[in-house]
């Protein structure tokens, strides 16, 4: 049994670690409201909403044009949506295929599917760029979509495969036996079972696409996404509006987490009442 002293030390260490993780975010939060021109909470020169206003006013972010290649938000959104539209069907198809295979072949296929997750984003970016150039496809966000999809599909595949394990294939047989076509069996029996995994992986894919930097940076050509916009401006003068963005994102995350937790507890209580 470890002594009380060492336990106390570990408790303190745990708290310290939490502080270590949260403090930098609080720094950003503080900077978001500080009227000092340099993005920092110190020296505190007064409370202001200015950065939020500038964030909203920044033409490079809040535009929803599909043709303007500098449009950070719309680009980020359409890239992310396309990545989701690509990687969820691919990941699901791959998971279904893998689920029906066994032995050596399955292992090899699985390894190839996982490989992009382990590959540095830079390598994925370079290989995508060089490959499609051979076919005359120039750099641009369309290549970023392909590069991102190569590894995001793997995440989708893993989540769907895990969900498939809990599926009773006898249900598919029952559906066929009752006269359903293969397509009807898939749509009415298998997919409903997979919905939780499909939804979760779609959300995951979306956010992974939004925050992707390395692969996007190498494949985007002149086009811009939010992440790249902030990332590549950094040296030449960081935009204080990023702090405002951070505050919004953190607030949204915290609210969403708390909201999800409340909803989860409420639906479990309901289920217990209904049973």
């Amino acid at each position: 049994m470890k002594s009380k002293l060492s336990h106390k030390f570990l408790h303190a260490y745990g708290i310290l670690f939490l502080v270590y993780l949260i403090l930098p975010l609080l720094v950003m939060g503080g900077a978001a409201f500080n009227s000092s021109k340099f993005p920092s909470p110190l020296p505190w020169t007064g409370f202001t909403w200015r950065w939020f206003q500038e964030l909203v006013a920044d033409g490079n972010i809040w535009c929803f044009s599909f043709t303007d290649m500098k449009c950070g938000t719309s680009n980020t959104v359409w890239v992310a949506l396309t990545v989701v539209a690509l990687s969820v069907p691919i990941g699901t198809g791959a998971a279904i295929l893998l689920n029906n295979l066994k032995g050596r072949f399955r292992m090899v296929l699985y390894a190839v599917m996982i490989a992009p997750v382990l590959t540095p984003g830079v390598v994925i970016g370079v290989s995508t760029l060089v490959f499609w150039f051979k076919f005359g496809v120039p750099a641009g966000l369309h290549l970023s979509i392909l590069g991102q999809a190569s590894f995001i599909s793997a995440y989708v595949m893993l989540m769907v495969l895990a969900r498939l394990q809990s599926f009773d294939s006898g249900l598919e047989e029952a559906a066929l036996d009752l006269g359903a076509s293969h397509w009807q069996s898939l749509r009415r029996i298998l997919l409903p079972h997979l919905y939780p995994a499909l939804a979760t992986s779609a959300v995951l894919a979306f956010f992974q696409s939004v925050e992707n930097y390395n692969t996007t940076q190498f494949t985007r050509g002149q086009q811009m996404t939010l992440t790249v916009y902030y990332g590549s401006r950094g040296r030449s003068g960081v935009l204080p509006t990023i702090n405002a963005l951070a505050v919004i994102l953190i607030a949204v995350t915290v609210v969403a987490t708390i909201g999800f937790e409340i909803w989860r507890r409420r639906s479990e209580a309901q289920k217990r009442l209904a049973a």
């Binding site: 930098p24 920092s40 992009p116 950094g234």
Partner: protein
């Protein structure tokens, strides 16, 4: 395959195979093979491609050794003069500082993993985890920027120390460690959770009785950890180290923002070669060098920790 056809019918089976084939061929295998092939070809103007000058060679890889320059190093007050290719030097430093980052992350995470797995009250664990996850959701970009602001010349850290009267004037936080201090400190923060979770997972499966048995037999706390806890957690530690190392080596954003004017990261070298020099084949070769470095590291980690690939892949 016939079982699948029977179960799903021709259309769905074909669709699954088609989607998988598109993914693995068009998005993964063919680009990699193409990259591999391109890395051996010379950088030629468009008309010369495919012509007599387009031969395979190792030149692109060997070019890392070209352009030797004099590098001045300050090492604890002693000045060394090194004549080395600048690309090779950056490559070495990238590896070295990624190792340092990995080690720091491990050192910081190990006690916490133990604390979360064994010491903390399970009721509190859920809350602790919830707070822990918040930086994860905030995205790498924002985590990086937080430290960019922190370590700025006249940033909050400086101001705080000034207010406490410890220093006067600004501090170049990112210029220490040959210009890599900012990069290392930030990468530790940005990637630390990738080290924590595998190690924590490994710890949870450790039986407390083993520790008590070791204590019972008279082992010191250090020895208990060294001989009981760490060996048990080896797969998790290896997994975490490999993940963090590869994230560090391949990091582009963090070095971009937190380098000093005189320091560079290998990913930036690749970027420059591709988009400043327009030498895509050379860029391909460098990308592969990076990949080889990661593979070597993974193999070494596996040897060192004596774990197999399946253990790491989690």
């Amino acid at each position: 395959m016939s079982a699948m056809l029977r179960r799903y019918g021709g259309f769905i089976t074909g669709l699954s195979i088609g989607l998988t084939a598109f993914w693995l061929l068009a998005l993964v295998l063919l680009p990699y093979f193409n990259l591999f092939e391109a890395s051996f070809r010379p950088y030629l103007p468009f008309i010369d491609i495919g012509g007599p000058q387009d031969t395979y060679s190792l030149n692109n890889y060997l070019s890392i050794f070209s352009h030797p320059t004099d590098v001045k190093l300050n090492f604890f007050g002693f000045t060394f003069l090194l004549n080395i290719s600048i690309h090779l030097w950056v490559f070495i430093l990238t590896i070295v500082f990624s190792c340092i980052t990995t080690f720091i992350a491990l050192a910081l995470c190990y006690p916490l993993a133990f604390y979360l797995a064994k010491v903390l009250n399970p009721g509190r664990l859920a809350t602790f985890m919830m707070i822990l996850i918040i930086p994860m959701w905030v995205s790498e970009l924002l985590r990086t920027f937080a430290w960019f602001i922190l370590l700025a010349f006249n940033g909050p850290l400086t101001i705080l120390l000034q207010d406490m009267g410890l220093i006067t004037g600004g501090v170049r936080w990112t210029w220490a460690l040959w210009g890599y201090s900012g990069v290392v400190a930030t990468m530790v923060y940005v990637y630390i959770l990738f080290m924590l979770f595998p190690v924590y997972n490994a710890m949870t499966s450790l039986d407390m009785n083993q520790i008590e048995a070791a204590k019972d037999l008279g082992a010191s706390r250090f020895r208990t950890h060294w001989r009981v806890v760490i060996p048990h957690c080896k797969p998790g530690i290896a997994s975490g180290c490999v993940t963090v190392f590869m994230l560090c080596v391949g990091s582009l954003l963090v070095p971009g923002l937190l380098n000093s004017p005189s320091s560079q990261w290998f990913t930036e070298v690749i970027y420059a070669r591709m988009f400043d020099e327009n030498d895509w084949n050379g860029g391909a070769a460098y990308a592969f060098l990076m990949l080889i470095a990661c593979t070597v590291f993974v193999t070494l980690a596996m040897r060192l920790f004596k774990v197999g690939l399946a253990d790491i892949a989690k």
